[in-house]
Amino acid sequence: MNANSSAERIAAKPRVDLAVWFAHYGTLVSLAALLAIFSLARSDVFPTVDNLLNIMNQISILGTMAFGLTVCLVMGLFDLSIAAMATLGGYVATLLLVKYTDSVGVPEAVAISIGISAAIGIVNGLIVSYLGISAFIATLATGSIITGAMLGISNSKTIITGIPDEFMAIGQGAIFGVSNPIIIMLAVGLALWLLLEHTQLGRHLYAIGGSAEASRLSGIAVKRYAPFALAVCAACAGLGGLMAAAVLGAGRPQGVGDTYLLNAFAAVFIGASSLRPGKFHILGTLIGALLIGVINNGLSVLGVPTYWQYIVQGCLLVIALFSAGVLTMRRH
C-alpha cells in the first residue's frame, strides 16, 4: 500500500502545483513585480544603472551581515549579538587607527577588529555547545555585554577625527564604477555560498540543522560546529559594522548595528522562502536583501513617507513565510 502511494506520488510529480510553485518563486516574482512597478512609476529615476548600483550599495552592509547570519541559521542558531558585533567592528577598527596611528595600518586594524568579532563568536558557540544555553539567549547576553563594553571604552564618544583616508576608501571607493561595499558583499556571499553548498563543512552544517541526533549518530562532532558557525556570523557582522564606519567616516560606539539586526533576519527568512522553501541559503538571502533594498529605495524614490517602508517590509515577511509554510504544511 505504501509502495502504491509512493508510485502515485511519483506519477503526480509532473503536475504543476500552484502553491508549490508560489513557495519556490513567489519572492522572485514579487521582486520582479516591484521592479516593474517602480520602473513604470518613476521611469526617469528608478530604472537607471546608477540607481540600481545605488540599491546594491545600500544593501551591501545588510547583505554582508545577512550572509553571515545565514550560516548560523542553517544550523538552527539565532545570533542576536550581530547588532552589537557590528558596532564593535566599526568602533574597534577606527579606535585602533586613531590611537595607534604609527603602529597600526588599515589592514591590521581590519584584521584585528574582525578577529575580535570572530573570537567573540567562538565564545558564543562554546557557550551554546558546552554550557547548553540556547543561542537565542546566549547571544542576547553577549550582545548586551559587548554594548556595555563599547560604551565604557569609548566614554560614549564618537571617533571622527584622524581616521585615515585609506580606511574610508573601504566604504567610499569604487573599482570600475562598482563601489567597494558591493564588491565586499558579493565576495563574502560567494565565499559563503561555496562553503555552504560545496564543502563537507557546509553539508555538515545543513545536516546538523536538519537533525542533530542523526548527524551525531553519523559520526559528526556536532558540538564543534556551533563555535564555527557563530564565528563566521560574528566576523561578517564585524565586517558589516566596519564597512558602515568607513562609509560614515566615523566610529560610533553605539547603535550602528541596531538598524541592521531586524533587516538581516528579515532578509534571511525571506530567503528561506525562495527557491528552496524551508531552507536557509545564500542565494535566497541575497534575494531577500535585494527585496528589502528595492522596497526602501523605490518607496523613497516615489516620495512615500519612510514609515511605509517598515510596514511594507513587515507585510512582505509574513507573506513570504506563509508561502513557505504552506508547503511545509502540505508536505506532512
Partner: protein, 525 residues
C-alpha cells in the same frame, strides 16, 4: 500448543459463568467488533472486569488492546457488541460519557503538566474552587487536593511541582486525578514504562489497596513479570479475538506466552539455513555497563546475525546504544577487531567500523528536509572530497554512489534528488540502511529496523540484513516486536534487568522461549 489446550479448560468454565450476568462485574463487554477499512481490529471480544479486581490485558502490538481500550473509554465507538456497566447496557459515544459512568484512562505518560503543582493538575479538567467567582481559592483547592491524595495513600504536599515527582508518584497523582472524578474503573495503559523496579512495587502496593476499596483496574503492560505479580485475572487478545483467560489460581507463564504468541510459524528457514558463523571475532564486550545495562558480555563473529532481545526497559535496546557510544560506559571492556577501544561518542564508534540504525527513524536518523542523496551520503561525505584542505565535495561522485546504493536496495523514488519525505516508510528505511552500506561499516547494529514499515518492505529488509551478514559484516539486531527475532537471528541473547539471562540458538530461539526468559524465568509455573 499443548499448554494452551491444557489451560483452555478454566477459560471455558470461566466463560460459562461470564455469559450469564456476573453479579460482581463492574464492566462487561460482550461480542465487541470494531471494523476498520480493510481490517477487523476487534472480532467478537468478551471481557469482564469485576469490582475491586486488577485485570491484566495482554497481547502483541496490533492485536486489539488499544482498540478495546478506546472502545471502553468512549474514544471510538465499536461497530457491534454490547458494553454493560453494573449490568446495564450503555453506549459510550464520548470520553465524557465514559467518565460519567466512572471509567477513566491513565495513559502511559500520565497526561500531567510537569510545570505546575500537583494540586493544579488534579483540578485541571474541572473548575477550580473560587472566591467571588473569579479568583482561585487556593486554600480550598489545597484542602481538596490533600484529601484526594490521602484517599490514594500518597503523602505529598499538594503544592509540589509535578516535574519534581518520582515517576511512581506521578502515576499515583494521575490515578488520584481519575479517582477525583469518581472513577470506579481505572484503565492503566503501560503505566510502568518509566518506572524503576522499586517504584513499580510502590505503585503496585497503592493499586492493591485501592482495589481492596472496590476500585477496579484494567492493566495493560508489555512487562509480563509485572503482570504475573499484580494481576487477579488475565485476558489475552490475539488477532482481535480472545485467546485465553486465566484467574490468579490458574495463571501459567508458559500458557499465557503461548496464547500471546499464537500458533504461528516461529522460526524462518532462511535464518536457520544461513551458514554457521565461524568467522573471526569482530567485537567482544566483557562486563560492559552503562545506562540500564548492568553487564553486557558477548562475542560477535563475522557473518553472524545476533539478536539482543528483552522486554521494554530491560536494557536490550540500550545495549546497542552503549556499544555505539551514545552514552558513556561506566565500566567493562570493549574490543573491536582485536583492539581495545573506549568510545566517547558515536564518532569514535563509527571510526572503529560500527554503525547504528536507531529505532525512531524520524527523530534519530532522517534528515527530514533533505534529498535521498543527502540522506544516503550523510556519514560518507569524506569519501567524496575533491581536495583535502577546503574539502570541496565532488558532487558527481556523491550522486553516482548514492544512486548506486539506492538502485542496489531498489529504493522506490522519483529521483535521487527527491525529498526523502516523499518516500514511503520502507523506502526511507532502506535509504538509511544504504547510508551505512556505502560507508563500509563492519558491525551493523539495528534497532527495530522494520518499525512503521509495510509488510512487503519488511521482507526486503530481512533479506537485506541476511545479505549484509553474507557479505562478511556482523549484525546485532534488536526489536520491540519479539516475533522478529526467530525470523532474523541465528542466536539470541535475552536481557532482563540489564543483564543477559540466557542464550537461545537456532530452533530454540522461538518467540515463546524468548518471552519466557525475558519475563523472568526459569521458575516454571
Amino acid at each position: 500448543m499443548s499448554e494452551i489446550e491444557a489451560h483452555s479448560a478454566p477459560a471455558a468454565t470461566a466463560g460459562a459463568v461470564l455469559s450469564g450476568c456476573d453479579p460482581d462485574a463492574f464492566l462487561e463487554v460482550r461480542g465487541l467488533v470494531k471494523q476498520f477499512p480493510g481490517t477487523r481490529a476487534l472480532d467478537g471480544v468478551d471481557i469482564t472486569i469485576r469490582r475491586g479486581e486488577i485485570h491484566a490485558l495482554l497481547g502483541e502490538n496490533g492485536d486489539g488492546k488499544s482498540t478495546l481500550i478506546r472502545a471502553i473509554c468512549g474514544a471510538s465507538a465499536p461497530t457491534e457488541g454490547r458494553i454493560l456497566v453494573e449490568g446495564v447496557e450503555v453506549s459510550l459515544p464520548t470520553p465524557q460519557a465514559a467518565a460519567a459512568l466512572g471509567i477513566a484512562v491513565v495513559h502511559q505518560h500520565f497526561n500531567l503538566v510537569p510545570q505546575i503543582s500537583v494540586c493544579e493538575n488534579l483540578f485541571l479538567c474541572e473548575s477550580m474552587p473560587r472566591r467571588a467567582g473569579l479568583f482561585v481559592d487556593w486554600g480550598a483547592m489545597r484542602r481538596r487536593a490533600a484529601k484526594l491524595l490521602e484517599r490514594v495513600g500518597l503523602s505529598l504536599d499538594p503544592m509540589t511541582e509535578v516535574g519534581a515527582l518520582r515517576p511512581d508518584e506521578a502515576a499515583m497523582v494521575a490515578i488520584a486525578k481519575a479517582i477525583g472524578t469518581d472513577a470506579r474503573l481505572i484503565i492503566l495503559d503501560e503505566p510502568t514504562t518509566a518506572l524503576l523496579p522499586a517504584e513499580v512495587s510502590i505503585l503496585f502496593g497503592h493499586m492493591r489497596r485501592l482495589a481492596a476499596d472496590g476500585h477496579s483496574f484494567l492493566y495493560v503492560s508489555h512487562r509480563l513479570a509485572e503482570v504475573f505479580e499484580i494481576a487477579d485475572r488475565v485476558t489475552v487478545l490475539r488477532d482481535g479475538r480472545n485467546a485465553g483467560f486465566w484467574t490468579r489460581e490458574t495463571i501459567s507463564r508458559r500458557a499465557i506466552i503461548s496464547a500471546i504468541v499464537g500458533g504461528q510459524k516461529v522460526w524462518s528457514e532462511e535464518a536457520l539455513s544461513a551458514p554457521p558463523a565461524n568467522g573471526a571475532v569482530v567485537l567482544r564486550a566483557e562486563g560492559l555497563k552503562g545506562g540500564r545495562v548492568e553487564d553486557l558480555t558477548l562475542e560477535l563473529r563475522e557473518h553472524e546475525i545476533l539478536g539482543i532481545a528483552g522486554l521494554p526497559g530491560s536494557g536490550a535496546e540500550e545495549a546497542l546504544d552503549l556499544l555505539y557510544g551514545r552514552f558513556a560506559a561506566r565500566g567493562g571492556r570493549l574490543n573491536v577487531r582485536g583492539k581495545d577501544v573506549v568510545f566517547h561518542s558515536p564518532r569514535d564508534a563509527k571510526a572503529a567500523g560500527l554503525e547504528l540504525v536507531p529505532k525512531d527513524r524520524h527523530a534519530e536518523s532522517l534528515l527530514p528536509g533533505a534529498s535521498v542523496r543527502e540522506n544516503i551520503s550523510l556519514p560518507n561525505l569524506h569519501q567524496y572530497l575533491a581536495d583535502p584542505i577546503v574539502r570541496f565535495i565532488n558532487r558527481g561522485k556523491e550522486r553516482a554512489e548514492a544512486g548506486e546504493v539506492a538502485a542496489r536496495l531498489s529504493v522506490k523514488m522519483a529521483s535521487i534528488e527527491s525529498p526523502i519525505a516523499s518516500l514511503s516508510g520502507g523506502n526511507q528505511q532502506k535509504a538509511i540502511l544504504g547510508r551505512w552500506l556505502a560507508s563500509g561499516a563492519k558491525v551493523f547494529m539495528l534497532n527495530s529496523p522494520t518499525a512503521a514499515v509495510d509488510i512487503g518492505a519488511k521482507a526486503e529488509i530481512y533479506q537485506l540484513i541476511r545479505e549484509i551478514a553474507a557479505s562478511g559484516a556482523a549484525v546485532i539486531f534488536t526489536s520491540t516486536e519479539v516475533e522478529e527475532f526467530p525470523r532474523v537471528c541465528q542466536r539470541v541473547l535475552v536481557f532482563r534487568d540489564g543483564r543477559i539471562v540466557g542464550q537461545l540458538l537456532g530452533k530454540d530461539a522461538t518467540e515463546s522461549n524468548i518471552l519466557n526468559l525475558a519475563a523472568g524465568g526459569a521458575d516454571e509455573r
